[in-house]
Amino acid sequence: MNLNNLKIGQEATIIHCNDGKLPLKLMEMGCVTGERIFFIGKAPFGTPYYYKIGDTRIALGIEIVNEIEVDLLDG
């Protein structure tokens, strides 16, 4: 599923984020295939979104969120 469909409080595994459109910096900050991603919340005016990827707390704009594919973890 698309990262955009993750609900607040859900955790998932990143399965695809090396699309040519996204900046390399994203991967350098830990957003690589196989890492766990946890959706912490949205900013008061809608965007950006706030996640925890591995040990890194990171806020991402919607233009990035839409490009990341994840696999929802159960429970």
């Binding site: 994203l26 008061p44 806020a59």
Partner: protein
């Protein structure tokens, strides 16, 4: 003389890199600017016990050698071209984000630098349940590794004796003996261009060549000669990007396998404090409320608390001036000293309280990790105008004074957003415009109430504030379309863990910024004020023998006028004010207003005191001045000078015009050239002229 070693300090943002730099070097550092860009360059030095002199450059924080901003380009260029002849690199990592931090480390090892790793914030390990086997890590990386804590007074960590900054300094020579590991050459990225590079430059470090190839647009002509063959290779962006992505994935694999052997985390001890604080501070309602309250406190402090020390400074300098005047002979030199130089210096120091208070808050918020939260909260609002969420701070501070506000834009990481913020901040209504507004409003706006409760004068004042604000936002939008950037805007922002501020870092930040202002922009401000003083106190024949001419003219016309007013009229400045009359006539101004416009370059509020001098009203008495101005009539037409049309025209002019050389000076200091201050001057004054022109022509 001992040996000399040149080091670079490199690390991810939010690793406490600057704290560590301050710890290592004390206050022995120099801050400059990289030529042409708004990235500051900080160099410090210290001595080892054996007398070896270490010079260390604090490079901008970066996540990797593949840059995604102007700041990060600096790191790539410094390290790859190595014009400064850097001998080794000290890498700072944060214990909380070790995996990600090691990416940069492995890249630096691949470039072939002698490297040492300092894992910072080791004081947090126990609380977070983290264990690191440093000996094993040293072995796996092939470089010296240390646990440090920049937070504690002697750099002690929980591992007794191991975290000391002094020990870290003394271990620096170890990095040159170490056998640093390499990674990239084992990645076997299959690509014909890499093969070509490998064959043609067998003696040069492969990863360095790969960086030059993949980031060639960041070097421009700097490498045209030495690496001609590489630049001539076909370059397809998508292919290169795939290679870079493969590289990152491989590095993560290597790092994961290293960390598996040396890193343990027991999450049962972790408190998750940051998560809990974020729940409140980023809350839809409470988060915004707290944010606006914090901003209100900041605003209140620079607006009102700063006024007390500002009055002291003012009083001190006017006392000093009086003292000098009464104890020195009444000549040109004394006048230059008191009215020129001394008042110039007073004009510089006048800003010190505001800058100190503003940067005190900014440093505290930055240290605690709140600045990133401001960006997170405000980005959605500011981003359509090409501004950063952090632009809120300068724009708000601008209502007090543009000078500290422009300096506070330093915290904005993105070079384009920072530049735009600095360029539009002067449009925000600052406190120096208030005295001008209040006297003109009281002259031309009736003091009646609208609907029985809203004072029209107050409404007009509010309107002027909004006008300035919208002009700033609108200009930002236009500028964001015009100013080019190589980097497409992707919003990626690390949200650091909350932590208590390190007092030392706070005062160093405040001190560095004060120094930069006083010795950077200050020089220009003093120079300007001496020039302005000279022009207002020197003049031609009629100025020099003003008393005789005044007597003659008064005998003929029986026009009441005092000497100081007559002298100002015939000074160089007065003559200039008169000569620009044709230009300002269409706005409804006469030469007297022209002179006041010129003098208000020193500070906008000087407009009022100049009018007092011209109209010969002593002591800046507002009521008296008001009556005098109100009764002023045009000599030729006999009509009132300050009509409604003129008043509105003047108000609009003051909303938009760039009439403050301190602001120009600080813009010059912050952007590194006169290009942008010149642009701002013509841009703002241009809008001012046009709006004032239309207002007057329509209303008259």
């Amino acid at each position: 003389m001992g040996k000399q070693i040149k080091l670079a300090l490199v690390g991810n943002p939010n690793t406490g890199k600057t704290s560590l730099f301050n710890k290592l070097t004390g206050l022995h550092k120099k801050i400059g600017n990289y030529p042409g860009i708004t990235v500051s360059r900080v160099v410090g030095n210290f001595l080892l016990d054996d007398g070896t002199a270490i010079e260390i450059i604090d490079l901008p924080g970066t996540y990797s050698l593949h840059p995604s901003s102007k700041d990060e380009e600096v790191v790539l260029r410094e390290l790859i071209l190595n014009k400064e002849k850097i001998d080794g690199v000290l890498v700072v990592a944060d214990v909380n984000n070790l995996k990600r931090n090691l990416i940069l480390l492995t890249e630096l090892q691949d470039v072939g630098f002698s490297v040492m790793l300092a894992i910072n914030m080791c004081d947090e390990m126990q609380r977070k349940g983290i264990e690191i086997d440093t000996d094993k890590l040293q072995e796996l990386l092939g470089i010296p590794v240390m646990l440090v804590s920049a937070k504690h007074s002697r750099g002690d960590g929980m591992h007794q004796g191991k975290g000391k900054i002094h020990q870290m300094r003394e271990r620096i020579p170890e990095m040159f003996k170490a056998k640093s590991r390499k990674y990239f050459e084992n990645y076997r990225l299959t690509d014909t261009n890499i093969d070509f590079i490998k064959d043609n430059f067998p003696k040069t470090n492969l990863y360095k060549l790969f960086l030059i190839y993949s980031e060639q647009d960041k070097f421009n002509k700097l490498i045209a000669q030495d690496y001609k063959e590489i630049l001539e290779l076909p370059f397809e962006e998508s292919t290169v990007k795939k290679l870079l992505q493969k590289e990152v994935i491989k590095r993560y694999q290597d790092i994961n396998s290293i960390l598996k052997k040396i890193y343990k985390i027991d999450k049962s001890n972790a408190t998750g404090l940051t998560g809990k604080i974020d729940k409140i501070l980023l809350h839809k309602f409470w988060g915004l409320l707290i944010f606006f309250m914090i901003m209100a406190v900041v605003f209140q402090s620079i607006f009102s608390f700063a006024s007390v020390p500002m009055e002291w400074i003012d009083a001190f300098f006017s006392d000093a001036s009086v003292f000098l005047k009464s104890n020195f002979p009444d000549n040109q030199l004394t006048a230059l000293l008191t009215d020129g130089i001394l008042s110039g210096i007073a004009g510089v120091l006048m800003f010190v309280p505001q800058i100190t208070i503003l940067f005190l808050f900014i440093a505290l918020l930055e240290e605690m990790g709140y600045m990133s939260r401001i960006v997170f909260l405000m980005d959605r609002i500011m981003q359509p105008f090409g501004l950063s969420g952090k632009s809120v701070v300068p724009l708000l501070s601008g209502t007090a004074c543009a000078v500290p506000a422009i300096m506070s834009a330093r915290t904005i990481g993105n070079a384009k957003e920072r530049l735009i913020t600095m360029l539009v901040t002067p449009l925000i209504t600052c406190s120096a415009r208030l005295p001008v507004y209040s006297i003109i409003i009281s002259l031309v706006i009736p003091k009646t109430d609208l609907f029985g409760f809203m004072n029209i004068q107050g409404l007009v004042l509010l309107g002027l504030y909004f006008l300035g604000f919208f002009a700033a936002i609108f200009s930002a939008y236009i500028l964001s379309k015009i100013i080019k950037s190589n980097y497409k805007r992707f919003f990626i922002l690390e949200m650091p863990e909350y932590k208590l501020p390190i007092v030392r870092n706070v005062y160093i930040t405040v001190w560095d910024n004060l120094k930069a202002f006083v010795f950077g922009a200050g020089k220009i401000i003093v120079a300007f004020s001496i020039i302005l003083w000279f022009l207002a106190t020197h003049g031609g024949e009629k100025f020099v023998h003003a008393d005789q001419y005044l007597q003659q003219e008064q005998a003929q016309e029986s026009k009441p006028m005092d000497l100081s007013s007559y002298k100002l009229e015939h000074s160089y400045l007065g003559v200039t004010g008169k000569s620009i009359e044709p230009a300002i006539r269409p706005l409804g101004y006469d030469w007297k207003i022209g002179i006041a416009l010129l003098t208000s370059f020193a500070a906008r509020e000087v407009f009022v005191s100049t009018l007092s001098t011209i109209y010969s009203v002593g002591d800046d008495n507002d009521q008296l001045l008001k009556d005098r101005i109100a009764s002023e009539r045009n000599v030729v037409t006999g009509e009132k000078t300050f009509t409604f049309a003129v008043g509105i025209s003047l108000l609009l002019f003051y909303v938009f015009a760039m009439q403050c050389f301190s602001t120009l000076a600080v813009l010059k200091k912050e952007t590194g050239s006169w290009k942008w201050p010149t642009f701002v001057f013509f841009y703002m004054t241009g809008i001012a002229y046009m709006t004032a022109f239309f207002a007057y022509q329509v209303l008259k």
